[in-house]
Symmetry: C2
Subunit: 209 residues, 2 copies
DNA sequence: CAATCTGTCTTGACATTGTCAAGTCGTGCG
DNA sequence: CGCACGACTTGACAATGTCAAGACAGATTG
């Protein structure tokens, strides 16, 4: 019907002001529920109500979508992390909490950010820069927590430890193997609090605050 | 040539006693270098020198390959972990080290084990059981480290903390964002040692050994 | 010894995917 | 009025995962 005049083929949804956003959100939803492997160009295009080639216009290729997600994720993350750091009196505890909360609230972004094979940090300049900014924020936290660099003579030891704990808990929560082991009546929110308390106290011995 | 008599089409490599092993090893090599997304049925078949359908005989489908890798990984991991636990006088330090070393030495396996969308722990019974055994070993470690459950009233807090630190460092090392930040002259082996020392000391405050 | 079964593969086909190439169409601008 | 440009579209193409249907060597059975 109405093929002669060559109208937009998909009259219902198409030509929204930001197809770009729709593509990104569609991809993020798929990543969060089914993993990045499940993202198909044609599938996200269908979800956005556009042709299978429309996403290419904005992102170039599949890797471009992931790079855009990665950049957005690292930028939002750095924003939240820096905001916490600039307004807390207990940096270790509050930043750990911000970190884990960000990860569990932005599973789609986080999954891409820490999958180097798809993150685009090595191929897409903007994604790399956003990642670097996030890493700088982490170093700021370590310096704030222990200006003298704690008990270790390796200046990276404290940042790595903080990062490992936060990243470790985040991925364990996100990827399920931990949640499956936890009693159902314990909300993950409470678990995060307990963990950050426990972790903060554990680290105390390495740097006398 | 020689098509008439219907001989094996690939005379050079084919019909080795264990195509199964070749398929698994091919897949693992791809996963370790390019990620699990890059694993293609037809590619691993080509590497193993067999037809594109041979892997299906052993694994059913793509997910079957991942499930087999996952099971093998968790089994080996539990073996190593238990062995360390049964022969150490410093369980926290040595098991942390065993954990991280296993991960970095078995990147292909580890990547699959902790990607629930492909690990098969929810669909393949044997993969699930192997995972449960590994988790039980972790609980053993926590009990050994702190029989009274440390300073927390949540019995999972110590296992989760140990796991988060080990898993966090492992994935950060494996997936690159950390290695890229570390001075080139520091071998990751030394880093692991420093980390386990630092982490062990950090945890000391929560449980007086 | 012939027939049958079974494990280990193989070739063939199909729908679906990522991506290249080449339009189409409205909108602004000279 | 013409025409370049952005935002798409339709149309290919090779490669992929998987279903179906053999092929064939060796063991089992009559």
């Amino acid at each position: 019907m109405a093929r002669a005049t060559r109208r937009p083929a998909l009259t219902t949804v198409a030509t929204s002001p930001d197809v770009r956003r729709a593509v990104l959100d569609g991809a993020l939803a798929i990543i969060a529920t089914s993993g990045a492997d499940a993202v198909s160009m044609r599938d996200v295009a269908r979800r956005a109500g556009v042709s299978h080639q429309a996403p290419y216009h904005y992102f170039g290729d599949r890797a471009g979508i992931f790079a855009a997600i990665c950049e957005e994720g690292f930028t939002r993350f750095a924003d939240e992390f820096e905001a916490t750091l600039n307004s807390t009196s207990d940096p270790a505890r509050d930043c750990l909490r911000t970190y884990v909360t960000f990860a569990t609230n932005n599973v789609g972004h986080y999954r891409v950010m820490f999958r180097p094979d798809i993150s685009g940090t090595s191929t897409h300049e903007q994604a790399r820069r956003a990642g670097d900014r996030a890493f700088a924020a982490l170093l700021d936290l370590a310096e704030r927590v222990s200006p003298g660099n704690g008990a270790s003579d390796n200046p990276l030891m404290l940042p790595i430890t903080l990062w490992s704990m936060a990243h470790g808990l985040s991925t364990l929560l996100m990827d399920g193997p931990l949640l499956a082991k936890i009693p159902a009546d314990m909300p993950s929110d409470a678990l995060i609090s307990q963990f950050t308390d426990f972790a903060t106290r554990s680290l105390d011995v390495q740097f006398n605050r």
